[in-house]
Symmetry: C2
Subunit: 211 residues, 2 copies
């Protein structure tokens, strides 16, 4: 009889429902302000039960991060397939990342929150592993696009695909962070349009791959 299997399915569904509730709470109250009691109430569960499914607040964060990474990966896959040349693929990935940060700002901020913290390797949480794995895959996607660009001549030869992918990823993260965290400041104090900064950054990154 499939009792165990059914229970397994229900457990997964339940975890999903909890993450749904956690998102509603975390995204509306802010990651730090929201409490586990809030999440338990929103999920219509006792606190003890909540901890039965997620053994810490961090694990809940990470489950949300994992969802964010999934969205991002899909956007990247779509971006790549829509373009011909390698350079255009790389540009499209950059645009997709910027789009993600804007249209899925909640996920982006949640991911930013955790990415900017040193995570010990010892924390071998399954979500953490999944996120790390997806990060690596993303890098490989960019490196592959660069390789295609070198072959089709849209990217100058001599660039090291993987290392360059890491650089582009880091640079993009920084710009998107600036856009997300300093948009108001840039606009009000320096009369600079944050979207223009993102476009300019994309252009400059593309330029550094050409010639």
């Amino acid at each position: 009889m499939g009792t165990a299997e059914r229970r397994e399915r229900e457990k997964i569904r339940r975890k999903n429902d909890i993450v749904d509730a956690a998102e509603r709470i975390f995204f509306s109250k802010g990651l730090e302000t929201a409490t586990m009691d809030d999440v338990a109430a929103e999920a219509e569960l006792s606190k003890g039960t909540l901890y039965l499914y997620f053994k810490s607040k961090e694990e809940l964060y990470l489950a949300i991060n994992e969802r964010g990474f999934h969205i991002l990966q899909k956007l990247f896959a779509a971006a790549i397939s829509n373009e011909q040349s390698g350079l255009e693929k790389v540009r499209a990935i950059g645009r997709a990342y910027f789009e993600f940060a804007q249209k899925h700002a909640d996920y982006f901020n949640a991911m930013l929150y955790y990415e900017s913290r040193k995570m010990d390797v010892s924390e071998k949480n399954s979500c953490a592993r999944a996120c790390e794995q997806m990060g690596s895959e993303t890098l490989k996607i960019v490196a592959q696009a660069i390789r295609i660009g070198i072959d089709d001549g849209s990217i100058r030869p001599g660039v090291h695909p993987f290392r360059t992918a890491v650089v582009l990823w880091g640079q993009s993260s920084g710009i998107v962070q600036v856009h997300s965290l300093k948009a108001k400041h840039l606009k009000e104090k320096h009369d600079v349009d944050p979207d223009e900064i993102m476009r300019l950054s994309l252009e400059m990154m593309a330029r550094s791959l050409q010639k």
Copy 2:
């Protein structure tokens, strides 16, 4: 009589001593793990007195950040004056930033911790203002170096100095963050030398300014 003045001086010295103690505690225990009781003990003060000088843990963090910004600004000033062409000045600023992140990793991490958090404008703390002010000045230094580069021909005309400065700043932040937070991961999982990533990033940023 200069009683009030002397008291003012002593208050500033005391605040400094507290920040010294806070650094020892925060830098050794980690920003989140360290407690205000720890800091009070290290400063040989009661907790109540500590709160007389800094009204929150965040204000202490910010006082540390302010010190970090000062160091960074001095490094930038030195970097600029050591180079001739505008492009070389910009490169030197980039190198100085990377150097700061490595040689003053504690300050860098403290700054990163707060920079990556949305700070409300309502929090009109004096240290927060000072940090913001220094951030703006730093951007102006970069923009000025770009202007010099356009004039002396080492940077292509047509770049908008201030916007480009913002882009370079954002990109550098991202790369330095990657270097700081993912160094181990890059080395172990991808066999990539983090320092090489920083050098490559500098080279690519410089390339995007030339031609």
